[in-house]
Structures are given as structure tokens and as C-alpha cells.
């Protein structure tokens, strides 16, 4: 979440309005595309805003990799052919909220509601020249919220980091890898939990399960999360909230025990 907020704050577009536009800019390749000239690209790549970092480092190599993953799967290819967008216009949120418990659509809607965001919160891809690659990046961003529904990982920092680790192992997109450095900012106990419980889960499942970028979410809204997880070979991650609760309970019990024993 931290990452997403920074990205929103940064509003990548504002970066170069004005000063650099003096340099000849080629015509856009798709709606919203801002073709970059080489100095801009260089500066963008150096800049440490995570959203833009994701986009510039993802061109050309990693985004091609992600596209190739899609091109190797029949469903991935269908997505590329249809280029569906996940927005509040394409998804009827009210409808999703009415779906039975445990369905992908219901969990997704619940997650967005809890977060107080809408599908439109994801920023628009602007700097990738190849329209198809730009779409892949867009899709990748728009699908992120579905991953929470799929894994059931909570929206706390630890959950977000675990999810990022999973995505990294699953797609090998460097941006998600870089984001894992956020783990340094966690408390020691949380760090330990991440390293011993979530990273192993994330790496194992990221590598072994089918690529989540190839899920046609629009067609899975009524599928049960359980069934979908099974289909792509994904284990349910350890329940973070439960672990945290247990841990707190254990700590409390320890303290209580110490107090009752008192200095002998």
C-alpha cells in the first residue's frame, strides 16, 4: 500500500510537463501515450519514484517478458486480443457486492471497499511506446487488486510485501522485487515473520503456480476463490491476522505469567 500511495502522490505525469517538452516529441502511439526522447527516458529511469520506476525499468526487457508469458497461454492471448480494461465502467461494483461469499468478484469488491478505493485508482500507463506492451503494463496494474482477493493476504504492510514477493517470483518484474526492500522498515518481529513464513510461501507459490497475469478476471468473477486457487496451483498463504492475534495473545500470556510469578 505504501508503494501505491507514493505512486499516486507522484502523479508521474506532472514530472516533465513543460521543461522537457521543448525537445521534439514524436506523436503518441495510443491514447494517453507520452513518447519519451532519450534524455527524458534516462532521467525517468534514474528517478526514484516507484511508479515511474516500474514503468521505465519495465521497458523494454521485463515487459516483453511479461507479454511473452501472456503470448504463451491461450487465455493470455485472448486477453491481449480483447484488451479488456478493469474500471468502474467495465465492472459493475453493485453487482459484484451481491455475489455469493467466497467468489472472486465478491472478495474483490470487499477488498476495494475496505481500502476505500475504486478500480480507477490505478494510474494510466504513459511512457511505454509499444501499444501492446503498454496494455500489458496497464493490465498488470489493474489486476493487482485481484491478487489480494485471490491470496486472501490482508492489506497491512506485511501482507502487501508478501504479495509483492509472490508477484516477483511469479512474473520476475523487477519493480515488485525492488518494492520488497520495504521489508527493512518493518519491526523486528514482523521481519522475522516475513522471512520465515511469507517469503518461502511467496517464492514456492510464485514459481510453481501458473502465471496469474493469464487469469481472465472478468470471466472468473463468479468462480469461487478456492476453486481458482486450486486450478492455478496456489496454496492459501498462512493466515496473517490469525498469526498476529496468536502472537499477541502469547506475548500477553507471557507478560501475565511473569507478573503473577513476580520476583521470587
Amino acid at each position: 500500500m505504501i508503494l501505491k500511495r507514493i505512486a499516486q502522490l507522484a502523479g508521474a505525469r506532472t514530472l516533465f510537463n513543460g521543461s522537457f517538452s521543448a525537445l521534439a516529441r514524436p506523436p503518441p502511439n495510443y491514447e494517453g501515450h507520452i513518447p519519451l526522447n532519450p534524455p527524458e527516458r534516462a532521467i525517468l529511469a534514474i528517478g526514484n519514484l516507484i511508479a515511474t520506476l516500474g514503468e521505465t525499468t519495465a521497458t523494454p526487457y521485463f515487459i516483453y517478458r511479461l507479454r511473452d508469458v501472456m503470448l504463451s497461454s491461450p487465455t493470455g492471448r485472448r486477453i491481449l486480443r480483447d484488451r479488456p480494461r478493469i474500471t468502474s465502467k467495465t465492472l459493475d461494483m453493485d453487482q459484484l457486492r451481491k455475489l455469493p461469499d467466497g467468489t472472486v468478484g465478491r472478495e474483490y469488491a470487499a477488498w476495494l471497499d475496505k481500502e476505500g478505493v475504486s478500480p480507477d485508482t490505478r494510474s494510466q500507463v504513459r511512457y511505454i511506446d509499444d501499444p501492446e506492451c503498454a496494455y500489458v503494463m496497464q493490465r498488470y496494474r489493474e489486476c493487482h487488486d485481484f491478487y489480494h482477493a485471490l491470496t486472501g493476504l490482508p492489506v497491512i504492510v506485511e501482507g502487501e510485501i508478501a504479495l509483492k514477493a509472490f508477484e516477483f517470483a511469479n512474473t520476475l518484474i523487477p519493480m515488485t522485487g525492488l518494492s520488497m526492500f520495504a521489508a527493512v522498515r518493518l519491526k523486528r518481529g514482523e521481519q522475522k515473520r516475513i522471512l520465515t513464513t511469507y517469503f518461502p510461501w511467496a517464492v514456492r507459490n510464485g514459481l510453481l503456480s501458473k502465471e496469474v497475469i493469464n487469469i481472465y478476471w472478468e470471466e472468473e468473477l463468479e468462480t469461487s476463490v478456492e476453486a481458482l486457487r486450486e486450478r492455478i496451483g496456489l496454496e492459501k498463504p498462512p493466515d496473517l491476522r490469525k498469526i498476529r492475534k496468536e502472537e499477541r495473545a502469547r506475548k500477553k500470556a507471557e507478560i501475565a505469567a511473569r507478573e503473577t510469578l513476580g520476583p521470587s
Partner: protein
């Protein structure tokens, strides 16, 4: 020291003078008179096995050289050559076996008088070459300055070439062509008392006739029986790839006024090449896995065309996926072409049709014989070396062999002349006394110069082509980055590029 005889020797020398170290006298010859089995009619100076391009080129050049024209030559071919001899070309129809002949090869074919018998309106010269990496897209472009109109190579149907060679042979006369006849076995001759033929190969052909060869040339292709007889190992490996060939039709008038260009793209499964033929035609050579080759051969014409267009335009991931489809290939390719980014000006014109029955495939391998020569034996062409077709050099190497072998034989015959005996042609009408008369001249007919001129040259070519195949069979990112960098660097270096082109064109 005038008494000479033929000796079995480990080296490649065909004739060596008898020295005092070999005290084998006439008594021995006389003692064996009793065993005479060979008639004079069966003795040949040169017996060529194989009537492919290599064998026919050798026979032609032996007859066209004033120095070797006197030698008695026979050529044995298993297949019926009548088909090639009576080859009638049909306009707008091209054979799927086409070779790119370098200017060097064409120069030699011209010298031996064969090129004028090749139908020139069916030969397509090209002046430009586009070669690119199917993973990274990095590319190297070769363009001879078109005003200098330097030709990189001439696309020539094998049937056209073989027909031209056969026409030239019948124009020259004097080669005994024995076709529809296989070599059944090869052995060494005997010492019959009058003639010691123990080092002379004896070729037994279908029907039981035996040809005795002063020099036996194996031009008998990759599975050379002559090589096997000579006990020469041929080493190498199979690429587990097949070369799919086809004659295709390009979009009409698509390249009017544009210099003819050859295109080759290195895909991870192997290179795919489209080489120009006259008009709107082109020949395809696509090296790929045996499974894909089998699949390509089953495709309907429009699907086949779509696959070829995909091979030059789409990402290798796309190609991998699409070739696995059981239906809808053409539609899938159409969509992918629309959204894929490639430079229209640097890919071949779109394939719109494939000639009926022209899709075929051949297993690809790399083989190099340990030696090209043994006593009284020489190997030429595919019998000596088989190369991956990615550089279009197989037949050119074979022609290089012939060129070198003929020079070696000329030198040997001329060496006999130096001794001072006027009789240069002792074998035109072979009789035993003539054979001894040549022997008495002390002629040293050594094949060594042929071996040393060709072996290392071919070995280098085989090695480079093999490494190229391997270098481009990977999608590993660091390798792709390095090879792309290398290619781009070479592409910017004019001098090096023209050196490569000169090499590829076989210019000396």
C-alpha cells in the same frame, strides 16, 4: 632405377617411385601372371562415384582441361540421369532444391564451360542481404553498392545446374556415364603377375561389372560408400533439426524496382531464410525441429504461407505458440501482424502462395571426414563434409573441392611431362604396356596438395557455421545481449563487413 611399380602405401600418394628400399623385382610380377582376371577395358584413370553436382562438375572439369582431357573417366550414378538430362523447365514453376552459388563457384563453372548451359533466365542473382536476430531484433545488413552491381550469390536450381553439367559433358564427350547403376562393393585389385593392382580400388557395380580405378573419387554424398571403403571416419553430430524447403510466391509486384535481397532470421529453433528466385518467386529454407517440420508439411497452403510470414514478422514466442495450433493459424497470424512491431521495409515481401508439392524437409547434420584422401582415393562434396545450410555453403564447398582436386591432378599429369616423355596420354587406350610407360616416367600423382588446400578451409567454414547455429539457438538474455552487441558493432564497420561479404561470395 627405371624399374617402377605401384606400391601400397599408408600415405595418400597415388604413384610413388620404387626405391631400393622396396626390393620387389619383376620375378614376383611374372610369378603371378597366372592369376590375370582384369581386362584392359575395365581400367580407368578416374572412376567417379556419384552423379550429383559434385561428381558431374568433376567429370566436366576433367574433360574440359586440356591437361587432364586424356584421362579415361567413368562416372557411376545410382539414379536415372535421363530425368536431369531431359529436364524441361516449366515457366513459373521452380524446383524446391535451390542452391546459392557464389560468384567464385559460378566463375569456375564458367571456366569449365558449364555455366553457358545453365538456363540463365531461371537463375536469380541477389545484391543485398538482411540477417537478423529473432530474439533481440539486432541486425546486419549487407548491400553491395548497387551501381557496382556486385552480386552476392546466384540462386540456381540444382536441376538446372545438373542439366547444364550433363549438357556440357555430352558436348565434350568422353565420359563414360553409367547411371541407374549402383556401386555394390569396392575392394582392392590383385597382383595378376602382369599388373600389380593390389593398391587399385575395384568398383563392382550392379550386374557384376568391375571397374578398376587408378583414382577413385567419392562424390557419393553424405553416406559415401567410397568413404566407408577407404576406412575414413566422418565425425560430427546431428542437429536434431530439419531443413524445410518450399517454393513460394510473393505478393505480386511487391518489390518492383527493388534490388533482390536475401533474408535470414535466426529463430531459437534455427534460422529461416527466404531467397529470391526470378519474378515474384522465392525459395524457403527453414531449419526447425523435426516435429515442427512434420507439422509444416501437413499445413494447407494458406496456413503454410501464414506460418512463413509469421516466421519473418512475429516474435519467436508467437511463432512457438502459433505453430502448435491445430486450426485458425491464418487468422491468428493476421491479428499478431497487426499488433506486432516490425519494420516493413526490412522483411521479405509477404508470401501469398506455396507451389504444389514443393514442401519437403531434410535432416540437418554436421560431418567432416577425418581425411579427404587415402591411397588412390579422394573424397569431394558432401562425401567429405556436410554443413548446416544456414550459410548456403554446402555445394560451394563441393565446387571448391573440385577446383582444388583438378589443379592437383593437372599438376600431377604435368609433372609426368616434365620428365621428358612425350607420351602424356598413356591411358586413352588403356593397355598394359602404356600403364608401365607412365610408370616409367616416374610421375608422382599425389593428392596431398588437394587435401591441404581444402581440408582446413572447409574445417574453418564448418566450425564457424556450427558455432553460429549454436550461438543463435539460445534465448538466454546475456548471450542474446552479447551476440546482438557483436552484430551491431560489425554492422557499423564497413571494412569488416565487406570482408565478410567477399568471403561469403567466394571471391579470391
Amino acid at each position: 632405377m627405371n624399374s617402377l611399380r605401384y606400391l601400397r602405401q599408408g600415405s595418400a600418394a597415388v604413384f610413388i617411385p620404387l626405391s631400393s628400399k622396396f626390393p620387389v623385382g619383376p620375378q614376383l610380377l611374372l610369378r603371378k601372371r597366372y592369376y590375370a582376371t582384369v581386362t584392359n577395358a575395365d581400367l580407368y584413370d578416374v572412376v567417379v562415384v556419384g552423379g550429383g553436382p559434385a561428381g558431374l562438375s568433376l567429370a566436366t572439369s576433367l574433360r574440359s582441361s586440356s591437361v587432364t582431357a586424356g584421362l579415361r573417366v567413368a562416372l557411376v550414378e545410382g539414379l536415372d540421369l535421363a530425368h536431369a538430362r531431359n529436364w524441361k523447365s516449366e515457366p513459373e514453376t521452380y524446383s524446391n532444391r535451390v542452391s546459392s552459388l557464389t560468384p567464385g563457384s559460378v566463375g569456375f563453372l564458367t571456366d569449365i564451360g558449364a555455366w553457358k548451359h545453365v538456363q540463365r533466365d531461371r537463375v536469380q542473382a541477389y545484391h543485398g542481404m538482411q540477417v537478423w536476430d529473432g530474439v533481440s531484433g539486432s541486425r546486419i545488413e549487407f548491400n553491395w553498392n548497387s551501381s557496382a552491381s556486385e552480386t552476392i550469390a546466384y540462386m540456381t536450381e540444382n536441376s538446372n545446374l545438373v542439366h547444364g553439367l550433363l549438357s556440357r559433358i555430352s558436348e565434350l564427350g568422353g565420359v563414360e556415364i553409367i547411371d541407374k547403376t549402383r556401386v555394390e562393393s569396392i575392394s582392392f585389385g590383385e597382383d595378376n603377375g602382369e599388373l600389380d593392382l593390389r593398391t587399385w580400388p575395384v568398383v563392382e557395380i550392379t550386374g557384376g561389372r568391375k571397374l578398376v580405378a587408378r583414382l577413385l573419387v567419392g562424390a557419393d554424398g553424405a553416406n559415401s560408400p567410397v568413404r566407408t571403403f577407404a576406412g575414413i571416419e566422418s565425425r560430427g553430430w546431428d542437429y536434431e533439426r530439419h531443413g524445410v524447403v518450399a517454393t513460394v510466391k510473393l505478393e505480386e509486384g511487391s518489390r518492383v524496382g527493388v534490388e533482390k535481397t536475401a533474408y535470414q532470421r535466426f529463430l531459437p529453433t534455427g534460422p529461416v531464410a527466404l531467397l529470391p528466385l526470378p519474378g515474384d518467386f522465392a525459395t524457403l529454407v527453414w531449419s526447425t525441429t523435426p516435429q515442427v517440420a512434420a507439422k509444416l508439411k501437413t499445413l494447407a497452403p494458406d496456413e503454410f504461407s501464414a506460418m512463413v510470414n509469421a516466421a519473418f514478422r512475429l516474435s519467436h514466442v508467437d511463432i512457438d505458440y502459433i505453430k502448435g495450433l491445430s486450426e485458425g493459424i491464418a487468422g491468428e497470424v493476421q491479428w499478431r501482424e497487426r499488433v506486432s512491431q516490425f519494420d516493413y521495409t526490412r522483411v521479405p515481401a509477404r508470401v501469398v502462395g506455396v507451389q504444389d508439392k514443393s514442401v519437403a524437409s531434410f535432416p540437418l547434420k554436421m560431418r567432416h571426414a577425418d581425411s579427404y584422401i587415402a591411397e588412390r582415393i579422394a573424397l569431394v562434396g558432401d562425401a567429405a563434409h556436410t554443413v548446416h545450410p544456414l550459410a548456403g555453403q554446402g555445394l560451394n564447398q563441393g565446387i571448391g573441392d573440385i577446383q582444388s582436386l583438378i589443379e592437383t591432378l593437372e599438376a600431377a599429369v604435368q609433372h609426368g611431362q616434365d620428365i621428358g616423355n612425350s607420351s602424356l596420354l598413356p591411358f586413352v587406350t588403356p593397355n598394359i604396356s602404356n600403364i608401365f610407360s607412365l610408370a616409367n616416367q616416374g610421375s608422382i600423382l599425389s593428392l596431398e596438395p588437394y587435401y591441404s588446400a581444402q581440408y582446413f578451409k572447409n574445417d574453418l567454414m564448418l566450425g564457424v557455421v556450427d558455432k553460429l547455429h549454436k550461438l543463435y539457438s539460445t534465448t538466454s538474455a546475456p548471450v542474446v545481449a552479447l551476440r546482438s552487441l557483436g552484430l551491431s558493432v560489425v554492422n557499423t564497420m564497413g571494412g569488416l563487413k565487406s570482408l565478410i561479404m567477399k568471403q561469403a561470395a567466394g571471391r579470391r
